[in-house]
């Protein structure tokens, strides 16, 4: 097991087989974002108006609410990974751990709030 140095403790153990997971998930969510955000922006740009009633009616459709929920999952997953790399590149020690914790709260909390809002619009519909 070596002499207790960082290198000595890991030498001979081989790869943890997790090295490419972050990279692959970043690509998968990138493809998801490419499709979903383009759909979102093009649809939004072509909306006849942006008043509240139009928005509620639009988001109440299952073919809008479902892609919007998928968009929230894909976007917040992707941004969690991107900001993680930023934090790991520029901070260390306790600051890094604190910021990574904050990032997880933001990413999971933001996605949950967004999904709840879409679900509420979709389920309560025009009565809102």
């Amino acid at each position: 097991m070596g002499t207790g140095t960082d290198l000595g403790r890991v030498r001979g153990l081989g790869s943890a087989k997790h090295g490419s997971h972050h990279w692959i998930m970043q690509r998968i969510t990138a493809v998801g974002n490419l499709i979903l955000v383009l759909w979102f922006l093009i649809t939004l740009a072509l909306m006849p108006s942006y008043d509240h009633e139009t928005m509620v009616t639009w988001l109440s459709s299952p073919f809008v609410a479902v892609p919007m929920i998928l968009l929230l999952v894909s976007v917040f997953w992707h941004l969690r990974m991107g900001l993680q790399v930023l934090i790991e590149d520029y901070t260390d020690g306790g600051t890094r751990i604190f910021l990574l914790m904050l990032l997880n709260f933001y990413a999971v909390g933001g996605a949950a709030l967004g999904i709840f809002a879409v679900a509420k619009i979709a389920f309560t519909g025009a009565a809102a």
């Binding site: 690509r27 955000v37 509620v56 976007v75 879409v118 619009i121």
Partner: protein
């Protein structure tokens, strides 16, 4: 931990940003991170605010709309749309580079130099549709 950090900080760093001649690939790489992380924070908050405001009712939505259609609001929204198209363009470049293509110096430089223009063109097209494209 503290000791090893002090030791690490005292070591000379390999010079990086200061010694390289600027090239388009560096600009696109920096823009990719800046637009991505900008959207991750500002874009994420605006998206959630917008959805929450719609779900909360007409009054909350009116507050969102009045903020979004103010001058600072438009600056943020145009900035976010530009960030998306720029990040999308350099992200597509990453997919090409991921399969091992596009590393020849001329090809690499030409595409990298073109992408910032593509980002601006797509942003302009997006806002042109919003303001002029709907009859």
């Amino acid at each position: 931990m503290a000791n090893s950090q002090i030791g690490a900080k005292a070591r000379p760093l390999s010079p990086h940003l200061s010694i390289w001649k600027w090239g388009p690939a560096m600009l696109v790489s920096i823009l990719h991170r800046a637009t991505g992380d900008g959207m991750a924070i500002v874009g994420g908050i605006v998206l959630i605010w917008w959805l929450y405001a719609i779900s909360a009712g007409t009054e909350a939505y009116a507050t969102f709309v009045s903020c979004a259609t103010s001058i600072p609001g438009y600056i943020v929204l145009v900035g976010l749309s530009w960030a998306f198209f720029q990040h999308m363009a350099s992200g597509l470049r990453h997919f090409v580079l991921d399969v091992g293509a596009g590393y020849e110096l001329d090809t690499n430089n030409r595409w990298a130099a073109f992408l910032p223009f593509l980002g601006l063109i797509l942003t302009g097209a997006f806002w042109a549709i919003i303001f002029f494209g709907r009859g």
